[in-house]
Symmetry: C2
Subunit: 395 residues, 2 copies
Amino acid sequence: MINFTYYTPTEVVFGKGAEQQTASLIKKYNGTNVLIHYGGKSAERLGLISLVTQMLDSEGIKYTLLGGVVPNPRLSMVRKGIEICRANGINFILAIGGGSVIDSSKAIAYGVEYDGDVWDFFDNKAVPQKSMPVGAIVTIPAAGSEMSDSCVITNEDGDWKRGSNNNLCRCKFAVMNPEFTYSLPAYQTACGAVDIMMHTMERYFSPDTDMTLTDAIAEALMRTVKDTAYDLLKNPNDYQARAQMMWASSLSHNDLTGCGTKRDFATHRLEHELSGMFDVAHAAGLSALWGSWARYVMNVNVSRFVRFAVNVMGVENDYNNPEKTALKGIEAMERFYHDINMPTNISELLGKKLTDAQIDELAQKCSRGDTITQGSFKVLKMADVREIFALANNA
Amino acid sequence: MINFTYYTPTEVVFGKGAEQQTASLIKKYNGTNVLIHYGGKSAERLGLISLVTQMLDSEGIKYTLLGGVVPNPRLSMVRKGIEICRANGINFILAIGGGSVIDSSKAIAYGVEYDGDVWDFFDNKAVPQKSMPVGAIVTIPAAGSEMSDSCVITNEDGDWKRGSNNNLCRCKFAVMNPEFTYSLPAYQTACGAVDIMMHTMERYFSPDTDMTLTDAIAEALMRTVKDTAYDLLKNPNDYQARAQMMWASSLSHNDLTGCGTKRDFATHRLEHELSGMFDVAHAAGLSALWGSWARYVMNVNVSRFVRFAVNVMGVENDYNNPEKTALKGIEAMERFYHDINMPTNISELLGKKLTDAQIDELAQKCSRGDTITQGSFKVLKMADVREIFALANNA
């Protein structure tokens, strides 16, 4: 077990009517001039824009609206947000949406407090020293950005998608009303389930295997997400199921499921290149790649995959053949992904196969031209990354 | 599922050598003049007093030492601490110890910022509005006070033991090195296991039974604590087992295991009267009472006790006889308590039975003369409380 720090200062207000507390939370965290940052129509359709602006009006809190964040949030929007914050003396950002909106807000919050180019933080040229406070009303349970230290932005100049991790960007508060997620289409609900599963799996498949409490919690969370995804296919308006999924999304990426274990975010890194280049849904990219990653790395520590198969996927343990049990676990996971209509290879993801040149480009980008490695369960060089992309292409 | 808030701002620094970060953590949270509050010899024997004072000296941070906190920490010590803080211009309290020391520190932190009598907060005459910052080096995994909003103090004038819950008292940081717990006697290790189990059980046995993620996490934690307690009986110097137990103690009482469920801290409240009157170890009081509480209330929702029996205690489910399965779960829990040498009735706890007059007094105190109720799984009036004490007395 490795040493760890655990720091989750975000004040979560969870349940029916939670949004009514938004203005008082903004005041509590000293917001007097707010950027309300959101995506498109869903924040309006849910009535959140009018509710929040009315609440802020009645509290005498100034605000500026900035909508239009898209999935795989863009650097150009971040730059626009920084300009608006500076021009208007904004001192608090309220994100209304899912991971894309929250990440865009976090990046703006970094950029406002930095004299250089905000992309420096994503390009490893600088480390954030300060950040404007951000709060969130969560409408999509998936990324878990509302409690995480993570922020991922896509730079359209060259299709680079890069993440930055820093405690400074953790949200001051997160307002979560599961009812807001009733109207999510089945596809987006499924994407959320994949993203949540992956955030925990990428902490669970660790070279350290001696933090049993963390493992037990991670397995409990993954089993719950799987069961809940099936429940939601049947009944999208099941409050209890929506609540499980929403709370799981936060716990899955606030580090709880990785205390004492090394992370392995290789699948995420590979996927960032895919969705940076093809603008596919992040979760769809993850489900298309995971099985290939798993088969490529499983022999490094097959017992870990056996544990996953048995404790999470309910596979019967074949004690004489651990490799077979491990493979059955991977296949069961892929069956689950198929059941919720998610892809498990690149053809299913893109509707076509990649060319060799495209695979080369993805591997090049992901390894920065073979200058960095990815993952820790098995440390992946450019050739390994290329092989995983190729496996997913031919699966 | 009920609405909830979840707020755990404590920065946890966990693992070997974590204590080396104490001075920098105090600086981070603006401590310049520190009360170092501790119990007795263990903080000295572990070398923590000399290590911390050396670190503070070299950082130019002033400090005052106040040792002597005892289990069931006393109001007189709290009052002494408040005086010392005021006389010395203290602006940060560092607790070195377990729950008693941390709770004593929290109460001092409240009292310094309050013009009235600090006992007002425990007697429900006032609500804390402010608190001095507290940080902790944890040496006993049990109470989970390092991440909780809870503070329990015993007023020697009348043997009152009372708790106060408020987010203001959550520690700024918690330094946790499992190696510090190697030297804990088996009895104290067992007491810790009971306390940790009970903090989760008193959230798990809830009238709400539809927060499956919380239930799954709670069950994962309880199974781990049970297994780990047996491991530590065999090998007290097992780092990994000590680490599980230590982390479980924090997660068990930081509210994670109660998100979306109503709490039922009836057994704690009953025990507070017992340890207030007889000064027994808190955890021993809990284990002596729990089985009697469980038998008295189980028929309110027998399926909850069946779930506990099957998912936590590994009892086989007798689908034709849920009551039998539930009872087997309670018996299995009592067997576990016996295995780790903890009492399961009052005779085992005190070495004698209570008199009827003593049972009356305990029931009177616990119900404030039948003016308040305890618990939520089954709401207990004075007569119910009396009956549970009597059951535990005759078990």
